[in-house]
Amino acid sequence: MADTATLSAAGGSEPAIGRGLKGLLLVAIPVFLVGWLIIYPIFAAILSTLFVAGPDGVQFSTASYQFFFSDPYSRANLALTLWTTSICAVLLLLVGLPIALYLRFSTSRFADLVQSLAIFPMFVPSIILSYALIRTIGPNGTVDILLNAVGLPKLPTPYLTPWGPVIGLVWDNLPLTVLMLTAGLAGISSPSIEAARDVGAGPIRVFWYIILPRMGNSILVTISFTVLGIFSSFTLPYVLGPASPEMMGPFMLRTFNDLYDPLNAKTQAVISFVFCLFFGLFYVWSIARNQRSQSR
């Protein structure tokens, strides 16, 4: 009897170990892929911009970084990228929040239509969106034709100005913004909002004192995600944006492809990466801080 018991106990624990191994193997593959395809190239790129082959062998040098930050054109490109990113983030919040609020609180059937309209851009590839925008707001596009038809003068087109990519990027990132904000709003219970109205708060005060303070986290998540995406965006700035200054994405491609200058292209990539890393760390830090303050 005792023997069978030990046997069965041993037999019972063996599959558990097997399961553990299988679990490790399952995560090992993605971890390996991340290491091989992402972590390793990052470090390789960073190292290759800092250790450069000179006349007397490989040497440590920050020359390419010094060049980037002393070159007015590179600095202008970085500034344009930061400007576009922050303008887009602000506009996305300004446009996305009212839509999300409407979707959360409307009971009309119209809300379904608004929802599908807001999500629609997600399914449109950026290249198609770019050409659609050129045909709409570009020179002699739909807007111009309509203005002309009613005898009004043409408007200055945002196409090939910094506002071109801004319009495209806002449109392109709206679905994600609305989805994330709606998810954040769903966490605010209806009774808590009705209770606020009950004690005398009108819609604006309810928004300011009850909804907004509890939206902090989801606004932060939304901004982080869109900022990361917009900072490194390529297609829309490439097609809709001005030739000079240009955003970091097209700038990198041109440096690499047209100027055959991989060292400076890599330097630009590392600098973009450091900015994104900074946003990422800020995001992680604020989420952690919020969670701590909530569990206190």
Binding site: S189, P191, S192, E194, A195, A196, R197, D198, V199, G200, A201, G202, R205, Y209, I210, P213, R214, R296
Partner: protein
Amino acid sequence: MARLKIESLRKSFAATTAVDDFSLDVGDGELVCLLGPSGSGKSTILRMIGGFEQPTSGMIRIDGQDVTRLSPERRPTGMVFQSHALWSHMNVFNNIAFGLKLRSLSRGEIQRKVDQALELVGLAGYGHRQTFQLSGGQQQRVALARSLVLEPKILLLDEPFASLDQHLRERLREEVRDIQQRLGITTLFVTHGQDEALAMADRIVVLRNGQCEQVDAPDVLYRNPQTEFVAGFIGQMNFLSANVEGGRFRHPDFTLDVEVQDGPAVLALRPEALRLEPSDSPDAAGVTRATDFGSHIMVDVELRDGARLKVMTAPDARWQKGQTVRLAASAFALYRQNRLLARGGLPVETVEGRSRHALA
């Protein structure tokens, strides 16, 4: 202080009529319970009074002022919700102070009123706590304090204790009743627990499918239900269906002379209005079960036609399963199509053998 007057209130959602021609007067300082099964429109009525739903038609007046079209923040009402209504990003003090701050009261005034409100609901010194550091019962007290601190004319409570356990619920409803009487605040209380309604209310409104079945004081409602639905909903009730023919209710086990028109009818008998006596007749009713509740024993009796009745007996009585018994009733009510036909306190007895103890 405040009177509430509701006239022919009606509310339809797309396909359903949630509230249908509902009228009610609530006097100053009165506590009225809205009682009814799930989906009977209790919450919808309360939400229309609070301003959270717009009535399809009808009128709501508070102290003579028509508030039907006012938004919630402009109404002199205070509502306590079932749950999840506290603001989790504010501590207890700020939850209660929020409404006062909106009214731009001075700091000292706010502090004084909040402390007073916390004292009132038995949570003095809890102001600095976060809402998630409170138990369910304490959260509902904070919600109550938050409404009371603004001194509303009408207090609305929508099943505020539904998510709490039985003991806590009983304690809190006594406290709420106590506070309500001390402040003399006109109150509407929604519940689907009849014991809660019977324990707290000055008057009870019984609702069914959005319509009012009966409005009366608890004791009247219990002793004199005007409809078969109310009879069955408040307290325990035994029902027996049979035909009235020639002025006599003809059930194989219970007959009764009544002065009503011929036709089908339902006889309603309370368990405590029934009396049991042992019988040795072979075709008498039989005991199927006796459950001891301590204060009384509930005996299930099966009649010859298969109908089952509950009979309340004294705790010292002993009834065996299978024992044959004779039943006698000291009070009855007779309903047809949900309307009261006749009522009486006269003894009604089971029929034994062929002899009929029919009583006029």
